[in-house]
Symmetry: C2
Subunit: 454 residues, 2 copies
């Protein structure tokens, strides 16, 4: 049985029309997926689904990069590839010619993420388990074989990783049970988008508390007076003990991050997320030192395990925010979970966008069962957007992710959505939106927009 | 007068057939250019030429990324864009949707490099000056307007940059004269490719000395015994005082870099280049500290100015190796030249590949005339490959780059080459190579190769 095809599609949602997802750096995202379906001739009805998440323009470039990986899979035996996903990961990431396009970052790395995640989806479906459970039941030896320790040795060796995983073996079954019973804590970013007015902010804060969330997150960084006003509203609405994190989406220089956050400190922000460039590990360390005991979080734009390693080595972050599709998929995220466990830093994943909640819940649940073996001070981002397009959407109950039980990686977008939102020819994009045509013309037809000027 | 078109082509040279360019990470590169020609309706006969350099597979992805920038230029007024290349750079780099694909790294950032460099080529042609001279005659105020100081403020402010440039104003004319008379020192990597046998290494070392070079560079990192043997040959052939740099092309972990280079230290390597991941600024700092006084160099794969900033902040490098097409073109390289000047670290550019020598000479010459104002301990890489395909190829005389005098950025590949090496339909690729068909089949037809296993 071999892989017969990679079907690739460019799916975009016109989220900019309602300013969902608007923040200080991303005023008008159109949440998009460069989507891949792996097909085999196994005749078991299983496909592997995966995607790279983008925010609109450039989703076609991302799709082209995924297509470039076709020769790696088509014609290869399914069982052998799925049995050695560590080896296959290395083949993709270490291809010397494609590596030049990163290395290990950006478009090419995210393309590998899409394919690797689709392979995990397929493997979990074939083994009839949700991915988190499949990973949680693997041996420590098999898990470390998934990880490429290149460039990690000065912080985490294979032997240390093995020790971490072995230490977490006792209690795995009990933690699985606990997860299935209680789920995993979530926080919600839905109230906090910059494009929402104060009334909407107040209403959504109330709803978050009523819905059982213990934490919300507000976007900040465009205007200090606005941030102070919005933090005042949120703090008054949610109460003094409620966790309110803030997120600057890389808007600031290092000195600006420090002075700005000193102004917001009286509102007791739970963490400051992405205060500056995700590449600036030294800058994050400076910010963390200057603002201590305020906590710094980052990760959704951190390109690979090497940058995460340094953030941890420098003590620059109090929370590691993995993303399911920016680093090269499940394998690299296992490396990052192990690094975080080594340094004793909780992992609180980035989610939102389209499908990121669906994917990343599996990684946090695996982390709880088999790596960190701890749920305290851990929380997965939740944004209430676009879940209706998924075959196995996340379920949130009383502010917690309910552990998924369907086999796979929860990555599958409904076939009808894939047709309707296909870009540029699907009906959603081909037919002008009558209500919003003036405000948000079709991206391909307008002068590309830039962020709000700094 | 407006921009009327961006003509994009995928040009590849089958360099893997002779193992030119082979190193520990890149055993079989096919040097390639994702090439762009900017056309206007000015009727002055000028076009802007630029490219991103890749090593084969994926050059089409790079070309697609360049094509995504078409809407930014087509229809825009030529004079206004060329008069504000700082503003235009920000427009491209800060586009919120395209930015998600990096941010500021990888395929999308290199695409911006190609377009920005093509704009500089056009501007220099219209002003009838070689680029280095155009830049060297700009005012400090106009030069800092080209630079985006976002994320740099904790290391270099606009005012500090202005002071550096103003301090270099006296003597600009004398240094221009000196350059035109004497050229700029080069070193050659031609002897050092891993794929060459010992006799070829010895012969090329002799030639390098005879040709007047003061420095060569050897690839290392695949096998320690081989490296010791090859360093022995090179040291014996070139003599005890000749500079021999070594380059590991990111092959090592941090601990391996340290132990391996201690074995090569007796051969007095002039620098160790790319000892580990280009993202690992903390790792480079550790290596530099452990191996001191051995000098560490890196840069050709450093994704952007933020990572260069940190390498300098941590004292991790003794030489900054800018690349003309990896960061976002001339503007970002000016930022890096200014950072290097601030920290007093010499810039010794990466070159080779296809066209990198042609481009980067302009940046070093500008650095000498108007930024660092110093030529001591500075040297530009030179590799004797593929120059015959350029309209204005580099000229090396007695181990020095002769200052180019033709207007533009020396980026123009001959029209006939662009046709013959077009991938996959040009005659070089469409017709099988009779001599080498077995050894190096057409990349698109073979199973993609990976690097030598670590």
């Amino acid at each position: 049985m071999i892989f017969t095809d990679l079907e690739i599609s460019d799916i975009r949602f016109p989220t900019s029309r309602a300013l969902d997802g608007s923040d200080a750096m991303n005023p008008d995202p159109d949440y998009s997926a460069a989507y891949v379906v792996l097909r085999t001739d196994a005749g078991d009805g299983h496909e592997g689904h995966g995607f790279a998440f983008t925010i609109g323009r450039g989703n076609d470039i991302q799709a082209a990069a995924i297509a470039s990986l076709r020769p790696y899979l088509v014609g290869r035996p399914v069982a052998a590839v799925l049995a050695d996903l560590g080896g296959f990961w290395r083949e993709l990431v270490h291809d010397s010619q494609l590596r030049w396009l990163g290395p290990e970052k950006g478009v090419m790395h995210m393309a590998i993420a899409a394919v690797v995640n689709a392979l995990w989806d397929l493997r979990a479906k074939r083994e009839d388990l949700p991915l988190w459970q499949l990973l949680s039941r693997m041996s420590p030896e098999d898990l470390v074989d998934l990880v490429d320790f290149r460039y990690l040795d000065d912080a985490l060796t294979r032997d240390e990783a093995l020790r971490i995983l072995r230490a977490a073996q006792p209690g795995r079954a009990a933690r699985e049970e606990h997860l299935l019973r209680e789920g995993f804590p979530a926080y919600t970013t839905s109230p906090g988008w910059l494009g929402y007015d104060d009334d909407k902010l107040r209403r959504l804060c109330k709803e978050a508390v009523a819905d059982g969330f213990g934490q919300i997150k507000l976007k900040v960084g465009a205007d200090l007076a606005d941030d102070v006003r919005r933090m005042t509203i949120a703090r008054q609405t949610c109460g003094p003990d409620f966790r309110i994190a803030v997120d600057a989406n890389q808007r600031w220089d290092v000195p600006t991050a420090i002075t700005w956050m000193r102004e917001l400190a009286p509102f007791d922000p739970y963490w400051i997320e992405e205060p500056t460039s995700p590449d600036d590990v030294v800058g994050h360390a400076t910010i963390a030192r200057e603002l201590a005991p305020m906590r710094v979080a980052t990760g959704e734009h951190v390109a690979n395990r090497v940058l995460f390693k340094q953030l941890l080595q420098l003590g620059a972050v109090s929370y590691v925010q993995i993303d399911a599709t920016r680093v090269a998929g499940v394998n690299e995220n296992i490396a990052i979970l192990l690094l975080a466990a080594k340094f004793g830093v909780p992992v609180c994943p980035h989610a939102g966008g389209v499908g990121l909640c669906e994917l990343v819940q599996h990684l946090s649940m695996f982390d709880y069962v088999a790596v960190a073996a701890d749920m305290s001070d851990r929380v997965i981002e939740y944004v209430d957007h676009l879940h209706e397009h998924f075959v196995d959407p996340v379920v949130i109950r009383q502010g917690r992710y309910v552990a998924p039980t369907a086999p796979g990686f929860s990555a599958t977008i409904r076939p009808r959505t894939r047709t309707e939102y296909a870009y540029p020819d699907g009906p959603v994009w081909a037919a002008p939106d009558p209500g919003a045509a003036e405000a948000a013309p079709r991206p391909a037809q307008r002068r590309p927009g830039t962020e709000v000027a700094p």
